[in-house]
């Protein structure tokens, strides 16, 4: 089945992603930021689907939106946000920060303008119906050691989070 209206969906999803990303860093209320972050993550999942990466899109939804953002919201509710909403939202170095970001942006533009020629222009089409199986095979064959290291990282993170959040160990 061939995709339909690709430009429309791309621009819609990209616009939602970027606008909600701006909302994430501009809102006073962290809960609103978290909700904007959800929209960014979901539209990125849509973009992954457009790039023929359904497994990454699924993992994005289940892990990022269903796990990490829920964790964020959970923590926001545990801390007191009423006082923070009335304070200054930006720190004293905001001008320097903006400047640095602008320089970074220029760098990106320069790289893309210069480097566009070396991208392969034709996309490789992978069989979409086998995406999960291929990713799985790659994880367990080519990237077995990184996979194990990632599991170790998660173990360390669990222990670290418990130690940090517990009142008395």
């Amino acid at each position: 089945m061939n995709p339909v209206a690709t430009p429309f969906f791309f621009y819609a999803l990209a616009a939602v992603a970027v606008l909600s990303a701006i909302a994430v860093i501009m809102r006073r209320n962290p809960v609103h930021s978290a909700i904007a972050l959800i929209f960014t993550l979901l539209s990125l999942a849509g973009l992954y689907l457009m790039l023929y990466a359904p497994f990454v899109a699924g993992v994005q939804i289940i892990l990022y939106v269903g796990g990490i953002v829920v964790l964020f919201l959970f923590v926001i509710m545990l801390i007191n946000i009423d006082r923070m909403e009335r304070e200054y939202q930006f720190n004293k170095q905001w001008l320097v920060g903006l400047l640095a970001a602008a320089v970074l942006g220029t760098l990106f533009v320069a790289v893309y303008v210069k480097g566009q020629a070396i991208f392969p222009q034709h996309a490789v089409r992978f069989p979409e119906q086998l995406n999960t199986q291929q990713v799985g095979k790659m994880l367990y064959v080519d990237y077995l050691l990184p996979f194990e290291i990632a599991s170790l990282l998660l173990l360390v993170a669990i222990v670290g989070a418990v130690v940090m959040a517990k009142k008395r160990i």
């Binding site: 791309f10 990209a14 992603a17 970027v18 990303a21 994430v24 860093i25 962290p30 930021s33 972050l37 993550l41 990125l44 973009l47 992954y48 790039l51 023929y52 990454v56 993992v59 990022y64 990490i68 964790l71 923590v75 926001i76 545990l78 801390i79 007191n80 923070m84 304070e87 200054y88 939202q89 720190n91 170095q93 905001w94 920060g97 903006l98 640095a100 970001a101 970074l104 942006g105 893309y112 566009q116 991208f119 996309a123 490789v124 995406n131 291929q134 990713v135 790659m138 080519d142 990237y143 990184p146 990632a150 990282l153 998660l154 360390v156 993170a157 669990i158 989070a161 940090m164 959040a165």
Partner: protein, 100 residues
């Protein structure tokens, strides 16, 4: 109009810059952590966009990045709760004591 890889890269770059601005300018640590998530997502979009050109390695790597983001969020928010319990604030510029 055909949507090429460059289109996706531009979106990713925009997200990356927005995330950077968030990390550099906001005081609220929760939002700084969210901005880091934005940056990681921009990286992921780049990886997946290139995986269409160079094979599935990018997708596999983006799964590692998501794992990493989960670990980072868990530890970061754990630190945040520990800090809030001690100082009743989560502003980044008030985290100025090395030792309590």
């Amino acid at each position: 109009m055909e949507i090429t890889t460059l289109h996706y890269l531009v979106v990713a770059a925009a997200l990356f810059i927005i995330g950077t601005i968030g990390v550099l300018t906001r005081r609220n640590v929760v939002i700084i952590l969210m901005s880091i998530e934005l940056i990681l997502n921009a990286v992921n979009l780049n990886l997946v966009a290139f995986s269409r050109l160079y094979g599935l390695h990018g997708q596999v790597f983006s799964i590692f990045v998501i794992t990493d983001a989960a670990a980072e969020a868990a530890v970061g928010l754990g630190i945040l709760i520990a800090f809030f319990r001690n100082k009743e604030t989560i502003n980044a510029d008030e985290i100025d004591l090395l030792k309590f």
